[in-house]
């Protein structure tokens, strides 16, 4: 239950919106739910629906609409490489293959240690700095631009190290 671990934060989110339009809090609450375990579970949908007096269908249907919400578990970090046309022209497709090889997974899969899921996504609005990816995980969403296989490997090592130290 989100309420068990995040009661204060939930109260703060709800406070931001007038009582009459409290359904507006659905997005921040979905962010919170996803931050918790990396995806939005059926239980979380029901809990949020209960908090906002919505039907679970109203909450659940949003997850499919927004590409950054997930309804299935994945890695702790989701690496999302843009492979749209301008990025592809700057080598994003090749870059994606190399990163897959390095992580020993296919696009859409999760590494054996459960750390990384790799996805190819549509435009991230930074075509001039391709190849690039965004990482969704602990600490929200971060952009990593003008990437090479080397810099990506270093980034991945650093994350693994950081996690081991925690």
């Amino acid at each position: 239950m989100l309420q068990d671990n995040h009661a204060t934060e939930i109260a703060q989110i709800l406070e931001r919106y007038p009582q009459a339009s409290k359904r507006a809090a659905v997005m921040p609450l979905l962010f919170l739910a996803q931050r918790e375990v990396g995806f939005i579970s059926r239980d979380a949908i029901n809990e949020i629906a209960g908090l906002l007096d919505l039907d679970p269908t109203d909450v659940g249907s949003l997850i499919g609409y927004y590409t950054l919400f997930y309804d299935k578990p994945g890695g702790k970090y989701r690496i999302q490489i843009c492979t749209d046309l301008p990025c592809a022209l700057r080598g994003a497709e090749k870059f994606s293959h190399e990163v897959c090889e390095m992580l020993n997974i296919q696009v859409g899969e999760t590494t054996e240690d459960g750390f990384f899921t790799l996805e190819e996504v549509m435009c991230l609005a930074a075509c001039d700095r391709a190849p690039l990816f965004q990482v969704q995980g602990k600490g929200g969403i971060q952009y990593h631009e003008n990437m090479t296989l080397e810099s990506t490997t270093a980034f991945i090592e650093s994350i693994r190290e950081q996690d081991a130290n925690e």
């Binding site: 039907d55 269908t57 609409y65």
Partner: protein, 844 residues
Amino acid sequence: MSSSQVKLMIDGNTLEAPRGMLLVDAALRAGIDVPVFCYHPKMEPVGMCRMCLVEIGRPSRDRQSGEFLLDENDQPIINFGPNLETACTTRIDEGWVVYINSERALEGQKQIVEFLLTSHPLDCPVCDKGGECPLQDLTMLHGPGISRFSFHDKMNSLKRVALGELIILDRERCIQCARCIRFQEEIVDDPVIEFSNRGRSLEIVTFSEPGFDSYFSGNTTDICPVGALTTSDFRFGSRPWELNAAASICPHCPVGCNIILNTRREVKMGGSEIVKRVLPRQNEMINEIWICDKGRFAYSYAMDSERLSQPMIRVGGELEETSWDNALKVAAEGLKQSGANLLGLAGGRASNEDLYNFKQLIQGLDGVSMLNDFMAGGKQNQQIGLGPGSNLGDLGVGDAIVVIASDLLEEAPIWWLRVKQAAERGAKLIVANARFTKLEKYSAHTVRYSFGDAPETVLGMLHYVTGDSSLNKYAKVDGQEESARIIKEATNAVLFMGSEGSDSESSKRLVQACGSLLAATEHIGKANNGLIPVWLKNNTQGAWDMGLTPPEKHLAEEFRDRTALYLMACDPFGDNPEMLQELPQDAFVIVQELFHTPSVDRADVVFPAQSFIERDGTLTSGERVVQLFYPAVSPHGESLPDWKILARIGALLGVAMESTSAAGVMNRIAEDIEDYGEIHYRELMNREDQWPPVGGKQIYFGGTAYENSQGIGIRLSSRAQRGEAYEPVWKESPKKPKGEGIRIVPIVKLYDQGTTVLPSLLLAQRIGQPELVIGQEDADRLLLQNGAQVEVQWNGTAHQFPVAIDNDIPEGIVLLPRNRQLGLEMPMACNLTPVKPTSKEKGE
């Protein structure tokens, strides 16, 4: 020409229509079709499907004066935009020139069909919608013979997604018009289906538990413009063109929704005609184009194999099948010998013709006839009910609606829907009940009283209206003063009165109080004003009108010392097995029934009656609209209509009754009963043009609801409307007995375990097991948790139920859904004993 009317030209025809009307509606009213998919006249336009693309030209105006600019021939200069526009979202204005069937517009419409067909499977030959499908029709009209899109890019999706057990979705066929989603959200406020994902992956989903479980879900299949949504009873059941259509009236509640019974000969049934599905029949005054799922899916009881098919007589203690002649002879002999103290008891399920003949027969035999019910209000409905010209759909700003002692959603779903919509149009809704009901969500004012205090609550409102100081002792609940003000100031006011928490005595006081309130605020004797009793049975009002009223005493007392009992369309011994002990052992019992009920087990003679699908007759709704239903299939076994059985017994006993036809009985009723003086079958068949057009050629516009060509019925006038004075009376409340412990209150659930619902396999999952609803305080005191079993004793009988805790229920009250075999017609004192020690107790 008034300024609210504008003149425009569509495809060369000049027409006038109200300013601001949607172009698609204006065109259709002028007889010009604009093809649509997502647009539906009962819902807000969204312009999602783009099917209704048309060319719109608007006159140029002078920037200074606002006058039309004229060309050299003194004609307004018309500007056509570069793009086609959607007729369903565009509101008309003066001087427009619109082309719907121009080459450019048709090209646009063609392209949209071609686009929709890129991913729509052309499985029309096996699709249930084939033959009544807007997409199929428009494809034939506009569709290209060959697609330019690659077959390999076609979306493939799931062909069978059970959104619930009643509604099945074919994702491939969905063209994403959102009619179903908007219906659930806008019209019935039960948003249990939604779109998820986007673009080509857009799909309808539900995250609700248990899925698409809504009292109105079946209507989405009517308005679905393709075969994406189908009902599980009709899925792969038949082709639409094989079906016959018989007009009927839904027999499940006092709303009287107009329906169509689609029938077909069925090999599985030995070639006999059976009902394949139930569809709404348009009546904008009653049910518009909607019906609830109970009406749509609970029809199968009429075709149940357990139905009685042969007359039976008791021989040596056992019931034996026999011929009609013999059974009638035995019945007549029995009545002759033991009819000295005869009681006739009829149910509110029977038609007016049955009830009239019943009254005639029992009266002719010097017996006493009664209605098997306890709720009062039939007389007041005759006096101050809604009169001709009334339509709940007309109520809006400035009007008031009061709903008291009723959970309308459970008792009469279509009334709930129309009251909700009236509230959304601006009518002030007052919901008065002892507990929360879903209707409160739309109310301007909520009055919450203690269980059993409904009459006093209304008398308190009356105090604020009249200033009568003798009533100020009743003015003690929040909201009475404000409610009184709203009712008093309203242009029109309609009051729905139910029976929740009432017994026969308090029901009488409640209806008197309600009548007095309506009279004091001058809301009687005119259209759209007056009383509507929310009866527990569909034709209870008809029974009152035919002269049958509930027993004055408790029914058990009425049974004592009777020498003979005649039961029609009711099952008192099934409702309450304890009643059997009250009837003398040697009393002669005749039963007319559909099923082998517990009352049949006590009968000496049993007559198999016909159900509503096999015969004709009339029903009188709670709004006092008399409506005609027609036979749809051939009779089950040797069953006969109730009125005919009665007439045949009457003939043997010298009681003259109409025996030729139901229409003939109605002619007798018209001669005999003042209010029905104008009612004849021919007039009941009258039709009226209604908006929106549905069915037939306009199937794409309003859906597959049937057009009403078989009769919209007649609304009876109230005595007040005919100028008769109404004398308001009310009684002081008796002192309440104190300290009687817990009271058990019967409530209504839409899917009850009644004779006409249980046989429906489709609804089996929805009916569920009855739960005892209990408040938190009582649950804590008895150490009960949700789901724990509890034994409840009342009236010397014991029953076990799981409990459901509801914070809203006050201490000292428990609720139980009405049900057969319980003997719980009215609230009564009860004892609760937990069945198993709860874990809490064990821990102590």
